[in-house]
Subunit: 447 residues, 2 copies
């Protein structure tokens, strides 16, 4: 069987490796338009924080290993441009200008996503950067070195923007961040968002919230971001306003698209066409809380989906449960974590959300070094179900959120979750875990 | 209604406080034999590590607050000695030598547990200590100061022994630990137990494993623990071999006893007698994995059970789900956590346990500072159910275990758990959380 994979990062290489490992006779070919495969994109902000580290440190497995040790026909510099599902062929061009076509029995589209860039003047100027591919990171890091970047404006205040803000401050770069609309991390709700905002501002970062960007202009000594406030001067501008799925080719081939133009897949990762799968940042997923389709492109799902595609092509029938929207990021000394739905998402999905915000602490009464932990928890008034949780704190947040995530997979009620037997020892939390305190308070509101 | 509580620590004071808060007209009386109420017993090793901290720092709420602000009739120095369930009366004596009797409508027995002491010569000598009540801690701490304790032998290698070992080494005390039987932390399984053993030994602690203690003798300059090896000299001996429930009075009153002589309670915390409840370290609980009775005395359960008793007395019908046996402790730089069953317990409960041990790491590929995380996971070959997990590592263990605990409450299969959407960011773990890696490996063994 010929298994063709378009895209050589998390989903694509996971699928290719597993397929070949489990069936030595399978012909596995991967088309990757860049020359980087299998790298930790999420590690880029941390790598960028360290000028003496090569960006290639983030490569998990070299192309050579896939080719020589694993027997995968990995073609880098090969960009797929069109799919013909009827003929079971993929067409494309190499970065040497040659065109190619490839036949397949089963195809996996793992084309990932692209950093969104506003359609405004000046966003194509040199020094205006995004951060999605390893090449983006390489370019950004080189630019910082070459130009001696001291001032950066970050457009957007999402987690990549914040991770990069942290990395740049670590390098003593002066950072300003700008976004339109109300609120800083509005999805976190005000109390938790305020905690993060204070942390970021305490590091000397200037936040311009509710401020529209109009264009970017080139100046004698760098760039100027023209906005409602006037202009913000910078040596480099980082655009971090979100990710859109690379689904144009799939759409053009007639495959069904879904939320935010991601490629629609069923629980086996199959697209609307029988021989074609999609996985990773280009594909949608079921949300375990709503049961509906969602687009939450994250690394774990990409890897897991890659494996599931391989298993399904090999004849197993693996169905993925879906995503809970669990995520965590670090910004300066804070851990910020989430799982499940925010109140607005919950409402949209037909729930009657009720929320509670509590402050607890990271260690027991009288144990030295305790830090505040802030928890927002959301439940459904109608069914009593737990719908989501968000947490912010300087320690003990990143892994704590997983307990709530597992509860969401099981459609637990807040009452049942409040009864779970969570670990306690004085260095690690109060007797009542912050999540249990939140659940107990939320129960009173649900009534 | 007259609500009488025997025992003024976690379970007793939780129940008393909640009952009075929710029904101002209830007459709530608490009999506490010591003069300490509502303290964090679990915090004692950490307090003992700090010579300049008073043991009273561990008091969560003063007796005065319960009496004057909360309106609870809190009688310290009052030891209950007998219960007459037919007459609905409790009898006892005060530490002034007076006898008393009290009538009740509802009674809560929250008498806690006692540190077990072997029935061997010399265990009653001055300088032979246990650590259960605040008074034990007070006595131990004072003894250390007065005698300038420099050498301690700890009998037992459970978590209290290990936490105390850490605390004593912190105070530059030379520590030897001794236990009979095979293995160090045999319940952890060898690979994980070895990791902890190496950590403890690396701090200069001498471990005498498989070594029987015969007696303790007084010497000119302290004590000698006479054992298979000869004798271990010490200024102080700490006995930490486990806890037994204080259930004699309940037994004498004809109440049904259960596992390890704990007081049998149903899911509403009611004993075999309608008007009498029991909660905390003296009572049993249902295990959420086996559905059977178990005796796992821990702080969270005690607090939760106290609340549930109050709610039930007030006319609600609160049933507790049970315990998963989730626990964590810190020993030197290691976090050691567990939830659910060990293979031997699983076998005894009728499961067909299969286990896997994996090593993962606490941070992502290429992220600086990653430490090993060791996971043992146990599943049932027959049903595919997750039965338990244990973890050891220098970071990222304490809260991670909670995800597995919540899975156990939901009777998840290993396959379903392996699909959960757990948080990922490079500073906090690999893309595949160590628990997911363990689950994936365990699945292969379950087949």
């Amino acid at each position: 069987m010929k298994f063709l994979v378009i895209g050589g990062d998390a989903a694509g290489m996971s699928a290719a490796s597993r397929a070949k490992r489990n069936d030595k006779n399978m012909e596995v070919t991967v088309l990757e338009r860049s020359h980087d495969v299998s790298y930790s994109a999420c590690g880029m902000p941390y790598n960028i924080a360290m000028p003496d580290r090569a960006i290639e440190d983030l490569v998990v497995r070299q192309a050579l290993v896939f080719r020589e040790k694993q027997g995968i026909d990995l073609l880098t510099g090969h960009e797929a441009t069109a799919i013909d599902p009827a003929a079971k062929k993929v067409f494309g061009t190499t970065d040497q200008g040659a065109s190619f076509e490839m036949a397949y029995d089963r195809l996996l589209i793992a084309t990932g996503g692209s950093a969104m860039v506003p359609d405004l003047p000046g966003f194509d100027l040199p020094g205006v950067m995004v951060l999605k591919s390893l090449d983006d990171g390489r370019r950004l890091k080189a630019y910082m070195e070459e130009r001696g970047v001291r001032r950066v404006v970050i457009v957007g205040m999402g987690y990549i923007g914040l991770e990069m803000c942290d990395a740049l401050v670590e390098r003593s770069v002066a950072v300003e961040m700008i976004k339109p609309g109300k609120g800083f991390l509005s999805w976190l709700g005000e109390p938790l968002s305020d905690v993060v905002q204070q942390e970021v501002e305490s590091k000397g970062v200037k936040l311009h919230i509710g401020c529209e960007v109009h264009r970017i202009e080139k100046q004698k000594n760098g760039l100027a971001v023209i906005c409602d406030l006037g202009q913000l001067e910078a040596d480099m501008v980082l655009v971090a306003i979100g990710l859109s799925p690379n689904s144009d080719m799939a759409g053009a081939a007639g495959l069904e698209l879904s939320v935010k133009n991601s490629i629609a897949v069923d629980r086996t990762l199959k697209t609307s066409h029988d021989d074609i799968y999609a996985a990773g940042d280009c594909a949608d997923a079921y949300h375990v809380v709503t049961g509906e389709k969602t687009f939450i492109p994250l690394a774990l799902r990409a890897n897991r989906a890659g494996w599931a595609v391989a298993d399904n092509i090999l004849g197993a029938r693996v169905e993925l449960d879906g995503v809970a929207g669990t995520a965590v990021f670090k910004v300066f000394d804070l851990e910020v974590a989430r799982t499940g739905l925010f109140p607005r998402e919950a409402q949209r999905a037909g729930f009657d959300p009720v929320e509670v915000v509590i402050e607890s602490r990271s260690r027991a009464h009288a144990h030295p070094g305790a830090r505040p932990i802030h928890v927002r928890m959301i439940g459904d008034r109608k069914t009593g179900r737990l719908l989501g949780a968000q947490m912010v704190g300087k320690e003990g947040v990143a892994h704590r959120i997983n307990a709530a995530a597992v509860a969401l997979h099981n459609h637990m009620t807040v009452a049942a979750f409040a009864q779970t037997d969570l670990a306690y020892a004085p260095p690690f939390g109060p007797v009542w875990d912050p999540l249990l305190t939140a659940a107990t308070q939320l129960l009173k509101k649900i009534g």
